[in-house]
């Protein structure tokens, strides 16, 4: 049987971890409108993660709910790409990362609308609409910052320089990816890279930003090897559920 459960965890964890990171901006946005925007994008991502984790729990068949999977797995059991867990940094870092991820997410979800698993295809069809809105919003901001003042350009370029080495992992495919792709359930992420690069390049050139030369791409998140940042994020996200197991509100 195709390893759909670990595949769904990868999809869900990217969105849960990045959604939680984005939520850190709530009340701290540079302007009110952007505070609202980042909280809204965060809500979409956490919503998508909830649906994906619920499906993952059903596929696993061990009775784990979406909450059990979100709150009671440790960092070593999380399967998100490293890019999602990096600290939010300044606004340029957050927006550049969000563009890089959202373009990936849009392509990935578009492909997953054709999944042989009807539940996953349905979740993907919703997520496509949300991701498209996120891409448009972030692209607009990246151009505004990159083609803006000297300082906004420098910050956007620095963010791109720092984040680029984390993009390679998004497109790494291992046995899990290939098996679910062969079964018609998932998509092999390596097939998305050229379309992703074309879309990202289009925005970056309009933003007058340059893709850095990177000798080594970071990796490990898909196998549970994370940066030190994930544990801190999870401790904050999980403390209430772990301190009061079974609590409802």
């Amino acid at each position: 049987m195709a390893p759909l459960f670990p595949y769904l965890l990868r999809l869900a964890d990217d969105r849960l971890v990045l959604g939680h990171r984005l939520s850190e901006w709530c009340g701290h946005g540079p302007i009110l409108e952007e505070d609202i925007a980042l909280a809204n994008i965060s809500l979409d991502l956490i919503g998508e993660a909830t649906l994906l984790l619920k499906l993952a729990g059903e596929v696993e068949g061990q009775g784990r709910s979406e909450d059990a999977l979100a709150y009671f797995r440790d960092a070593i059991d999380y399967r998100n790409a490293l890019m999602a867990e990096l600290p939010k940094g300044d606004f340029a870092t957050t927006i550049v990362r969000q563009l890089l991820f959202s373009v990936f997410s849009l392509l990935q979800m578009q492909a997953l609308t054709r999944s042989a698993n009807a539940d996953l295809a349905g979740i993907a069809a919703k997520a496509v609409k949300e991701a498209r809105y996120h891409v448009r919003h972030c692209a607009q901001w990246v151009v505004t910052l990159g083609d803006g003042t000297e300082e906004s350009h420098d910050r956007a370029q620095r963010a791109l320089d720092d984040l680029w080495r984390y993009t390679g992992e998004l497109f790494l495919a291992d046995g899990i990816d290939r098996e679910v792709a062969e079964a018609g359930l998932g998509v092999d992420p390596s097939t998305l890279e050229s379309a992703w690069r074309a879309d990202v390049d289009r925005v970056l050139s309009q933003a007058k930003l340059t893709v850095p030369q990177v000798a080594y791409m970071q990796r490990g998140g898909r196998d549970g090897k994370h940066t030190e940042h994930l544990g801190h994020l999870l401790s904050e996200m999980q403390i209430v559920a772990r301190s009061h197991p079974g609590a409802t509100w």
Binding site: E33, L51, G122, I123, R202
Partner: protein, 166 residues
Amino acid sequence: MVARTIPSREELFAILDEVKDPEVPVLSVVELGIVRDAVAFDTGVSITVTPTYSGCPAMREIEAEIRSALQAHGLGPVEIRTVYAPAWTTDWIAPSAREKLEAYGIAPPRPAAELDELVTLRRAKVRCPYCRSTNTEQKSAFGSTACKAIWFCRECRQPFEEFKAI
């Protein structure tokens, strides 16, 4: 013994048309297209709903209100099924409902097929629901709820919300 007739799909939809969306109280959950199907059996009622956004926090409240509206008509037990396909689109909002939205002060959604390029610094104009001017500007792509954006009318100097097209 009281003979109970099983309500038709239309009768169920009429009851659900009384349930308003908590975040857009001028529209019912039927007008918004959230209710996809309604079937009554001897043993209860089954309602199929679809969320507007994956993370829409109003869905739980909407489900609770659907239950209580049906129970108020003596119907139950109520089973609520959530489906994600086909994905909800603002194109399902009926023309009459669009007029209600505008009268309420929310600019109705444009056709969802009107997809812009990835990079658009200025989007198409939205008509001000108060003075009908198109001399408006988007202030924020996101608004007070997942389904709305914030605009400003340069003509009547009034901020207003737009129902995002998805």
